[in-house]
Symmetry: C2
Subunit: 214 residues, 2 copies
């Protein structure tokens, strides 16, 4: 599959590693071309199954059928606005945790979510999926915590789009869990927030993961 990752930061890196390991073709897009190329070079070293990894600037054509917004809120909403019609028809993955400035609450209004804001901003026909917001970058690079594959919780209103993301997740060696409609992003963003707040008090250093065991 062709996947475009917008944002060559920590989360772009983590998700990029899973995609490269899964044999998918990745284009890394960043405002800073050097950052994009640096990450692309790293991912080439992790690529399996002949995956091609490229870097591109923000003006480049979006070749991927899947576009991952690996940026901080509200940058994800801003990018959805900036890209506009270029996103139509694509599967757009929002990974953000919209924390407020003091990191003790959510910046979004009660009763909505960053993912729903992205969906409201993107053009009609954009299929927004929430995923990867409860998994930390370092654990994505490794693909596991304490020997257990990460659970990636996925919400969205388009079943086919969710299955596309779930396939990418599974190809990267992780477990995909469909948690329902995009509205569930409210709970996913709550869970992501909860996980972040626990890092310092529990000394977890962003090496933890939420698992649904049974």
């Amino acid at each position: 599959m062709n996947v475009t990752i917008i944002g060559a930061g920590n989360m772009g890196r983590g998700i990029g590693h899973r995609l490269a390991a899964g044999g998918h073709d990745v284009t890394v897009v960043d405002r800073d071309p050097e950052e994009a190329e640096r990450l692309a070079e790293e991912l080439r070293g992790a690529a399996q199954g002949g995956a091609s990894i490229e870097a591109a600037g923000p003006g480049a054509e979006l070749r991927g059928e899947v576009v991952i917004l690996a940026v901080y809120y509200p940058g994800d909403v801003e990018i959805a606005s900036d890209l506009g019609d270029r996103l139509a028809g694509k599967v757009v993955v929002d990974i953000s945790n919209p924390l407020n400035q003091t990191f003790d609450g959510l910046a979004t209004a009660p009763g909505t979510s960053a993912a729903e804001e992205v969906a409201a901003t993107a053009p009609a026909g954009t299929r927004v999926v929430k995923a990867f917001n409860t998994t930390f970058s370092g654990t994505l690079v490794e693909g596991q915590v304490a020997g257990q594959p990460l659970d990636v919780l996925i919400a969205g209103d388009d079943e086919e789009a969710k299955e596309t993301v779930a396939q990418l997740v599974r190809d990267g060696g992780l477990r995909a869990i469909d948690v329902g409609p995009l509205e569930r992003a409210r709970q996913l963003e709550g869970l992501g927030f909860l996980g972040i707040t626990l890092q310092q008090p529990l000394g977890l250093n962003f090496q933890s993961a939420w698992k649904l065991i049974s």
Copy 2:
């Protein structure tokens, strides 16, 4: 420790098993005296360390320093109102998941939680703690899922009260995780809701658990 469980249903049963296993004295209170006695009898069979287990009617004195509201929302808020000053000074544990009638959303207003409603309703000096809302009754009876002890996520504004609940959790063989102020109940209730919605689609039969692994 003296603990009063209000509600002899599934969750009262699950939590009662952990308390009895931890050697704590439990009073089971229910509107239906037969239900209270039935559960008390079951818990006597599980009691360790000389724990005494009693049944009582709703008018009985609240002997416990800890009162667990093992009832459905908004019953928890109603009981907090009904008991009024009898709760003052006590550690009151809200375990509810305030699902709406169609089980596809939360019945609470955005930007609050059932636990915060209980705290706003109870008299001044009541120390409300959110706990046990992300653990299912059957898994509490067993104390584990897939050989791993349950994580019990605890939120509250009174540190001593939270530690009291954490001690009960640990004594019952479970792992206590302090997730911060009572406001975090919003995220815990979101997580509880998420867990409930996944039972049918994933065929989990309420035998699953959320774990924070590291």
